[in-house]
């Protein structure tokens, strides 16, 4: 790295959460609110196979980059490319970089120490067990509950109390991806962040699993003889147990 100090580092915000919870819908409103406050925003969307979310962000007139991980786990792909995303945002002279991840397997979480992390969960799919969403929920700074208009106040409060049990430190709040209610407050939270520091040695908040097996690499055939690398077999005698083959 050269001693180029003319570029200003952006603030960054990582947005995670299970599929179809409303991450993009909420963030579109948050970005609009940031733009109204004359902030320069750029967006990176990491997805697996295909996405049309870039068009939605592009309609707001902000620079958008799409990362498609294809055969590779999107979370690993995200971790490998994080620094480059920041450099890209610097090139675009953005003050705020929104990184929205795909949120597929619930086993990983994209949170990074020192970087504001939002997690979006919806009342309908996880009301009984927010624990299912795993480290994405437990490592986030802000847990955003969506689709609250589909359930009662009492159910929302119980849901939020359950989230509180597994993440005692987070701000747990509600937002509506359709109407945008709650999103101006989220923008205010983003706005008060400090710009990023050096990220080269910063750490993921939660380890990503070492799921390097033949299927990660595109194998299609079933059967033991096609399984190489780290192969973990279910142990049917122990609930949730397993053995490495």
């Amino acid at each position: 790295m050269t001693e180029n100090t003319t570029r200003n580092r952006p603030k960054a915000i990582i947005v995670a959460g299970p599929p179809a919870t409303g991450k993009t819908a909420v963030m579109l409103h948050v970005v609009q609110s940031l733009l109204r406050n004359e902030q320069k925003v750029a967006v990176v969307k990491v997805d697996c196979l295909e996405t049309e979310d870039d068009k939605k962000y592009a309609e707001l007139g902000v620079p958008v980059a799409i990362g498609l991980s294809n055969d590779i786990c999107p979370d690993h792909f995200y971790a490998v490319n994080f620094e480059e995303m920041i450099s890209w945002a610097e090139e675009k002279e953005s003050q705020i970089l929104v990184i929205e991840t795909a949120g597929l397997c619930h086993r990983c979480a994209p949170g990074i120490d020192g970087v504001l992390t939002f997690c979006v969960v919806d009342c309908l799919s996880s009301i009984k067990t927010p624990q299912k969403a795993g480290p994405v929920v437990t490592t986030s700074d802000v847990v955003i509950v969506t689709k609250g208009d589909m359930v009662s106040q009492a159910e929302r409060e119980v849901f939020k109390a359950r989230i509180r049990e597994i993440n005692p430190k987070a701000l747990i709040t509600e937002a509506n991806g359709l109407t945008g209610s709650g999103c101006e407050g989220l923008a205010a939270i983003v706005n008060q962040e400090s710009p990023l520091q050096e990220i080269s040695d910063s750490r993921l908040r939660y380890p990503m699993p070492t799921a390097i097996c033949s299927y990660c690499m595109g194998e299609k055939r079933l059967g033991n003889k096609h399984q190489h690398g780290v192969v973990y077999k279910m142990d049917f005698n122990t609930r949730g147990g397993g053995l490495y083959a």
Partner: protein
């Protein structure tokens, strides 16, 4: 406990300052918010909920007991200022009524959650058309029963000082009684509505237009008479509805 919220006026959609510069609402008061679709009712609610500090699109400022909250968006947001009673009329959790209410009271940290649960059911039954049984499944409740239970739960188990009621349909519940219950629990009750009877339940009403608060009107004594008449008319409609449901023929006499 919060005693009062104050809304300081911002700007309407055309960029001009809104007409009403300051409104203070105390606990125990019921205000209605009226105006055409797109007049800015939802944004006003958003501002209250987010305790906006001139950082929303309307540039309004919300004061709690006369003071601006600490200058940190996170802590501002933590307050859960507003409980919503939206148009949704069903529970989705597959649990028994009493069991769920105990769980909710437990989440709130009440010492004797089972007593709170019984209190909620008793309260809900004062305005529900048909009695709610503690052992009934939440998802099996009728629209009116669900509604009554939601309101009673917000009144007794709820944490939020402000209760927002978004268009209570007349699903056979005693709406006036429900509002009184909330106000009696020292809540600030805001009713956003297009229904004339509900709009007149508020002791004051904020009239929205063009994205701004245009006027704040106090309920005049003649308007109380109008409310009485509307209640009677609602009663007539209710009677005809019941007659139809019971398979009876309706006649002009039943409208008199």
């Amino acid at each position: 406990m919060l005693k009062e919220i104050t809304i300081l006026g911002g700007f309407q959609k055309n960029g001009e300052p809104e007409a009403v510069r300051e409104v203070s609402i105390k606990v125990g008061q019921v205000y209605s918010i009226v105006g055409f679709t797109g007049s800015g009712k939802s944004q006003l609610i958003n501002d209250i909920e987010q305790i906006s500090q001139r950082d929303s699109i309307s540039r309004r400022q919300i004061l709690l007991d006369g003071n601006a909250p600490a200058d940190n968006a996170m802590s501002r947001y933590e307050k859960n200022l507003v409980a919503h009673l939206s148009q949704n009329m069903n529970f989705i959790l597959d649990m028994k009524v009493r069991e769920f209410l105990i769980m909710h009271a437990g989440c709130r940290g009440f010492q004797e959650p089972d007593k709170k649960a019984d209190e909620v059911i008793e309260c809900a039954n004062t305005f529900a058309g048909e009695a709610i049984k503690p052992g009934e499944n939440l998802t099996r409740l009728s629209g009116g029963q669900s509604r009554s239970l939601m309101i009673a739960d917000v009144a007794i188990n709820g944490d939020s000082p402000v209760v927002l009621i978004d268009e209570v349909e007349n699903a056979g519940i005693h709406r006036l009684k429900a509002m009184e219950t909330l106000a009696a629990q020292q809540k600030i009750v805001l009713v956003v509505t297009h229904d004339p009877l509900l709009a007149l339940l508020g002791e004051k009403r904020i009239v929205m237009g063009n994205g701004g608060m245009q006027r704040v009107l106090e309920l005049a004594s003649e308007e109380k008479s109008v409310r009485k008449m509307l209640e009677q008319m609602a009663g007539v409609i209710q009677t005809v509805q019941d007659q139809l449901r019971q398979g009876e023929r309706v006649s002009v006499c039943s409208l008199m």
